[in-house]
């Protein structure tokens, strides 16, 4: 038993953090939200170069083998910097495509290298995940259905999300059928883990920004961070995040459905609690789109429902169908 990241994993996180801190991600997010993908694709390439999209891809296809712990490490950082794009979906697609050698050979190298993004819908799971994230930007569009795995030739019109950077697209039920029994449960597990890690990163960023804000914002002649109601609310957010973190990394170690569902539930709850506190303590400025906080606030809400709403995760934890 040694439940700590090793040096390599910590270095990986630091390198990714340095890369993202230098990338002015708020600008990239705003471009992406308008459907201008150039800066997002450039950032995507650099993230791929750091090895992120190879973490669910076997070595023979240009990946690093399936490495859920490193994946969790990476997605915490993607969440922390609000990186836009179908990153979770690209991971899920890599898992789906990796099940068949012909598909793996055809698609995985370009996903691992970052030269292609993928998105995916699933109509297996209880609620169904029927809208593809960023279908207008992804080159690979997969629909996993009971009839099989379909390669969609294009995406429908973009629908807006509460998070402007999440562009939701339906995939029309046409296109090449490339597999009979998609590994949707395995892919869902990876999507859920990546989303949990991302939500944790989003929550950490929201807490950091809010702590910084309440130290400098004064009302009634003192920093609002000296009010006990503010201090205690942020302490509770810190507690929620600190106890979601080991669930996320524990789930990455075991990859058991119950652990992954617990991680998704807790990280999204903690991330959302961070968002609610962040908005309340920033006041009106936190409610504005032009202030960067909004990029994380809206994502915290959207991630709650993505790849496993709270009730669905609780069902898995309790081992129910």
């Amino acid at each position: 038993m040694r439940f700590l990241l090793d040096t390599g994993q910590r270095d990986f996180a630091s390198a990714l953090r340095a890369l993202l801190a230098a990338a002015d991600t708020p600008r990239v997010v705003r471009d992406w939200s308008r459907g201008e993908h150039a800066s997002g694709r450039a950032l995507w390439g650099r993230i791929a170069e750091a090895g992120v999209f190879g973490l669910a891809v076997p070595e023979e296809y240009g990946g690093a083998g399936r490495r859920p712990v490193e994946l969790a490490v990476a997605f915490v950082e993607l969440g922390r910097y609000a990186v836009p794009g179908p990153s979770v979906e690209t991971v899920a697609a890599a898992v789906l495509l990796g099940e068949r050698a012909d598909l793996a050979k055809r698609f995985l190298p370009e996903l691992a290298s970052g030269s292609a993004m993928a998105t995916v819908t699933m109509s297996f799971a209880r609620h169904g995940y029927g809208l593809a994230l960023d279908g207008d930007a992804a080159q690979v569009r997969l629909a996993a259905t009971p009839e099989g795995l379909r390669l969609s030739p294009g995406a429908g019109a973009v629908r807006r999300s509460l998070d402007p950077a999440r562009r939701l697209t339906p995939l029309p039920p046409v296109g090449e059928l490339v597999g009979a029994e998609p590994a949707w449960a395995e892919a869902l597990l990876w999507a859920r883990l990546a989303t949990a890690a991302q939500a944790l990163g989003v929550g950490l960023a929201l807490l950091d920004r809010t702590v910084a804000y309440v130290k400098q914002r004064t009302q009634f002649g003192v920093p609002i961070g000296s009010f006990q109601a503010v201090r205690h609310r942020l302490a509770d957010v810190r507690i929620a995040l600190e106890f979601a973190r080991p669930l996320v990394f524990g789930a990455a170690v075991t990859m058991s459905p119950a652990d992954v569902a617990a991680a998704k539930l807790s990280a999204c709850e903690a991330g959302y609690a961070a968002a609610r506190a962040a908005l309340q303590l920033h006041g009106a400025i936190g409610y504005t789109a032009e202030y960067d906080l909004s990029l994380w606030l809206t994502k915290a809400r959207a991630l709650r429902g993505a790849w496993g709403a709270p009730e669905e995760c609780r069902r898995v934890v309790l081992g129910r169908p």
């Binding site: 809208l131 629908r159 009634f220 006041g283 009106a284 409610y287 959207a302 429902g305 009730e311």
Partner: protein, 383 residues
Amino acid sequence: MTEAVDLTHTPADEEFRAEARAWLTAHVPPRPLPSLETAEGFAAHRAWEAELAADRWSVVSWPERYGGRDAGLVRWLVFEEEYYAAGAPGRVGQNGVSLLAPTLFDHGTEEQRARVLPPMATGEVVWAQAWSEPEAGSDLAALRSRAVRTAGGWLLTGQKTWSSRAAFADRAFGLFRSDPDTPGPHQGLTYLMFDLRAPGVTVRPIGRLDGKPAFAELFLDQVFVPDEDVIGEPGQGWRIAMSTAGNERGLTLRSPGRFLACADRLLSLWQEQGAPESAAAGVADAVVRARAYQLFTYAAASRHLDGEALGPESSLNKVFWSELDLALHETALDLLGPAGEEAGSPWSEGYVFALAGPVYAGTNEIQRDIIAERLLGLPKGRR
């Protein structure tokens, strides 16, 4: 007048309800209007106010001479129940009707009321509020925008922010520092109305979380305001505004009808989703809280009709409705699962709106401080 506890309405009030319901059934647009935080939607909502006003349904509680029906508080509650149950549009004139009009009734002149209220009732003039400044959010005493005396009026200079509706509205009202030499920060403030299209006014719309310009920054540079647009005595603005703030947080800012209708829609959504037991607690609690808000308001209205002044209870009210509104919408979004994140639905629009509730009209933290001090008598503390 009988004294007995009675939750039924008189036949006359029920007749009023039936009349309102019939009118709404005939007039409420079959599809939701576009969001009132867009230019197109603002125009559509303004037209709706005119339609309401044409049959005297826009300001039922006002005196008839200003376009109302002299309806008492109970009929106002009845009207609001019917209005929201009918799924009628949001009210673009809310700032003027809930905040400015009560101030004019209490502190304005008859000339001001006759001039200002009728076009407010018809939506011809839509009002924005201009309370906050960049350094004065919860702490209104820190206001710095100035009103300087000039011939026949005042010149306004400074900056206001979070001015809701100001992106598309016609006029605004707010507090300005007219005497910088008074001892306390609450003194020397004057309550003024001004034109958003007057020379010297620059309006910079601000997008809320979903990007819609729900409010604006106002830059004021020597904006002339004639004396006739000062409300009450110059220098007495704080006291006057506090009575308005009382109204804002009090009975008439968020009517129970709104939350009862929302709880009904939540119940329907839950049933459409197959009535999952896992969500039953959230739905039941929302239904119960909406009913509690209705009955609390009926009790407050009854006390008001008995001649009791309503005081710091408005702080209880504010915290309760703002948290209820959020809970209603969060429960709905969770029920929708992955589809909950889609923008533009009544539930996600309502959610974005509800998110602001605990912040504006006095943050809920400030309200809890008020409850602790004035209702519980706890020591003031350094917050």
